[in-house]
């Protein structure tokens, strides 16, 4: 055999193997199995922090899992491979079946089998009508069925009828829509993006000017983060309501926004942003995901210069909104870097919206802002934020503390309006608290396609599970003396459940009662031994 023939044979066999039902089943299970670690192990895409915790707890196992992509299953090449193979298998399954179905639709129902008594459903009887009358009556009774008439030697007339073609149509719709859904999903992942940003609820603004405007930004592979839909959101106020137990009841943020067409004229539209109810600007959506507190501090340096800062301190206890954070200050007016880096300040600590103290230990009793207080450490020295490494705005660089370049100079609890004085007469004043909201912006232009395909999937599924494909044959023979012998046979082509009753009803309509003809009993459905029967 020459190489080309070998190759085509290989390709053909691979294709056949890949598109067989067995392979599809195996791939389905592989998909299920492959998705499981994605559900059970922490995932980078969901919560990178938890992945790091897990890695710290499993120093031996985690690197292996990481290399295998188990912490980002749904972006891993092997998951994509299963997905792709399943896709090919589906195509291979659907295309030939669609062609076959199109052919079936044009073809007449199968000719009447010789021995109807061997079918799962069978009935026979004798009537006084003529064969022609019986045929007419049967045709009338079988309205809605696809019917073909036949003749057999000896003047015997037959009808072959078939019904329930929609089942196959539903099935094909289901599978094709599944393909469509997979494709739309993949395209959405490619051209969509998601970004998160924290905005102070004091009239601060966020503009969707580019990926740099976000605190975190997750672009699809073909998104470079420059050509985003332009819009701006201004958060004027955020209002949570709580039950007496501290359980949140409702969150809402009063915002104004500008869509792409409003920016030039400078118009703003008011909007009440709520959980479960995003703001939709064209294809871009803005969600209210969370909220928190941002304490404001004003530092008065010994030379009299003042600096204020409001920085969000993220909640560490969601139930009580006890929050933790760091607010950093550079000494003003100092151009010499070395000097500057001996006088930097960091105010770190806890914020409680409703303070309770155990001794001097601050905790929070309630998530709403009833009696706010902070417990702060003030550190002075080198914050290390020039070292070239990125630094979190939420915490200080512990190595600077460890190396003694950043020293604690004060520790105190403060209520709004209170202040503390450092040994060098710098005054730290706790001005008050501003709320912040965390917003998510999502863009996925394919999601309506996905919804459409999902509905087709459901519809197709319904059809293919409800409709039954079934066949019925009628053989009409003139009886020896007078009248007509009518014989019916029925076969459900798919799951048999339920055809028995329908067959009996048809038989009862077509055969006069009590005119049994031995040896077969009256209108009776007979069971058949299925292939896998035990």
């Amino acid at each position: 055999m020459n190489r080309l023939a070998q190759l085509t044979a290989l390709a053909r066999n691979t294709w056949r193997g890949l598109t067989s039902m067995r392979t599809a089943l195996a791939l389905l299970f592989l998909l299920a199995l492959g998705a499981l670690p994605g559900a059970l192990l922490p995932q980078y895409s969901l919560n990178a922090q938890r992945v790091r915790t897990y890695q710290a707890q499993h120093p031996i196992l985690a690197p292996v899992l990481d290399r295998l992509g188990f912490f980002e299953v749904f972006a891993s090449p092997w998951f994509a491979a299963i997905y792709l193979l399943l896709f090919i298998s589906l195509v291979g399954c659907v295309v030939p079946r669609s062609i076959d179905y199109a052919r079936q639709l044009r073809r007449a129902p199968v000719a009447t089998p010789r021995n109807l008594a061997r079918l799962p459903h069978h009935a026979v009887g004798q009537t006084a009508s003529t064969p022609a009358e019986v045929i007419v009556a049967a045709r009338r009774r079988l309205r809605g069925w696809r019917i073909a008439e036949g003749e057999e030697p000896g003047g015997v007339r037959t009808l072959s009828a078939e019904r329930g073609y929609l089942r196959e149509a539903g099935n094909l719709v289901f599978h094709v829509a599944l393909l469509g859904l997979l494709v739309s999903f993949a395209i959405g992942k490619l051209i969509g993006y998601e970004g998160q940003v924290i905005v102070l609820a004091n009239g601060s603004q966020f503009c969707n000017s580019g990926s740099l405007a976000y605190d975190s930004f997750r672009p699809g592979r073909s998104v470079d983060g420059t050509a985003l839909t332009p819009f701006c959101v201004q958060v004027n106020a955020f209002r949570p309501t709580y039950l007496p137990t501290g359980a949140p009841e409702d969150y809402r943020a009063a915002i104004t926004y500008q869509g792409p067409d409003d920016i030039a004229p400078g118009t703003w539209h008011p909007y009440l942003l709520k959980v479960n109810d995003p703001l939709r600007i064209g294809g871009t959506r803005v969600y209210l995901l969370g909220h928190g507190y941002a304490p404001q501090f004003t530092v008065t340096f010994p030379d009299g210069q003042q600096r204020s800062a409001v920085v969000q301190w993220p909640p560490v206890e969601l139930g009580t909104m006890l929050s933790e954070g760091t607010t950093k200050f550079d000494p003003p007016g100092i151009t010499d870097d070395a000097t500057r880096r001996t006088g930097q300040l960091a105010i770190t600590g806890l914020f409680a919206p409703t303070a309770t103290f155990r001794g001097s230990l601050l905790s929070s009793a309630f998530p709403d802002m009833l009696d706010p207080a902070v417990a702060v450490d003030v550190l002075k020295g080198d914050l290390g934020n020039n070292s070239g490494r990125g630094q979190s705005i939420f915490s200080i660089d512990q190595s600077m503390v460890d190396s003694g370049r950043l020293k604690q100079v004060a520790r105190q609890n403060l209520r709004p309006g209170e202040q503390l004085t450092l040994p060098d007469r710098t005054v730290v004043h706790f001005d008050g608290v501003t709320r912040f909201v965390s917003l998510q912006v999502s863009y996925d232009p394919t999601q309506l396609w996905v919804l459409g395909f999902a509905m087709l999937i459901l519809g197709g599924l319904g059809l293919s599970l409800i409709v039954k494909r079934r066949r019925l044959w009628v053989r009409v023979t003139a009886a020896e003396l007078a009248g007509t012998v009518v014989e019916l046979g029925g076969l459900a082509r798919t799951e048999a459940a339920g055809y028995g009753e329908e067959f009996e009803r048809i038989a009862a309509d077509l055969l006069p009662p009590g005119r049994a003809q031995p040896p077969v009993p009256t209108v009776a459905s007979k069971a058949v031994i299925s292939k896998d029967g035990r």
């Binding site: 039902m21 998705a35 995901l289 069971a527």
Partner: protein, 316 residues
Amino acid sequence: MLINPVVEYYSDLAYGTALVLYLIAMVLHAVEYSVGRVPVTTAAARVAVEGNGAVATLAPPDSEALRGKPERVGRSAVALTGLAVLVHAGSLALRGAAIGRVPWANMYEFISAICCVAVGCWLIALYRQRSAATLLRRLGVFVLLPVVVLMFLGGTVLYARAAPLIPSLNSYWITIHVSAAITATGILLVSGVASALYLVGAPAGSRIAARLPDITTLDRMAYRTAVVAFPIWTFAIMAGAIWAEAAWGHYWGWDPKETCALVAWVVYAGYLHARATAGWRGSPAAWINVVGFAVMLFNLFFVNIVVAGLHSYAGL
């Protein structure tokens, strides 16, 4: 929204009553099961019912020989189950009334509702096949057992006082998405039990099998219930995705519960495919169905309790 503690109390009372009634019904079923005569399932009779719905003309299993005391016990078990399911539904309704919202926002309520659907589905299946009721009633013990266990867990370990919805759950989608999930899960429980018993009954000559309905009846029951539940489950996932689009910023984010729901969906799709694939019918298909329900249970318990995800605020 204020909670009415008196109504809540009566809801809990009804829950307990329903549980006790299920327990008694289960015991009665067990009595009928162990005392009642074994129906004549000769090989011929078993073979004869294979493969199609028309059992009616075969030697009726409900023959005189089977009537008698055990029969009456079995019938009263069914009647009691019927009463219990009404009380149970009443418990859910009262819970809803006490809180002024749908009664399925935490695991206790969720499990209660699933069990209610499962028992309802079981009674409907029994009614629809009443010609073979004596035979089918033998499943009663096995359907009620998981229900009793789940409800016991729900009423003790997982019990939660009535509470209003947190903002993120406060959406009409909770009615749509969760009720679909509950309905599907309840029906799939019955389906899973039928398939599990199929696997017990499949090895010829086992003594337990002799007391069970023949495996074809079990297989058909498992399939029919799964066929009803699968589109509902599909819808539940889709409704969840639509809700997620409004709540979490994307319709699909591989949240553990979403992923696990999809895995279960895929397994059930596998079951339906296996029923249509030569060589996979019978026991392999039944295994797949059992695995499917195992995934559902895993999703309900393990993912809710152990794996933290966006769903975990649904609460214990």
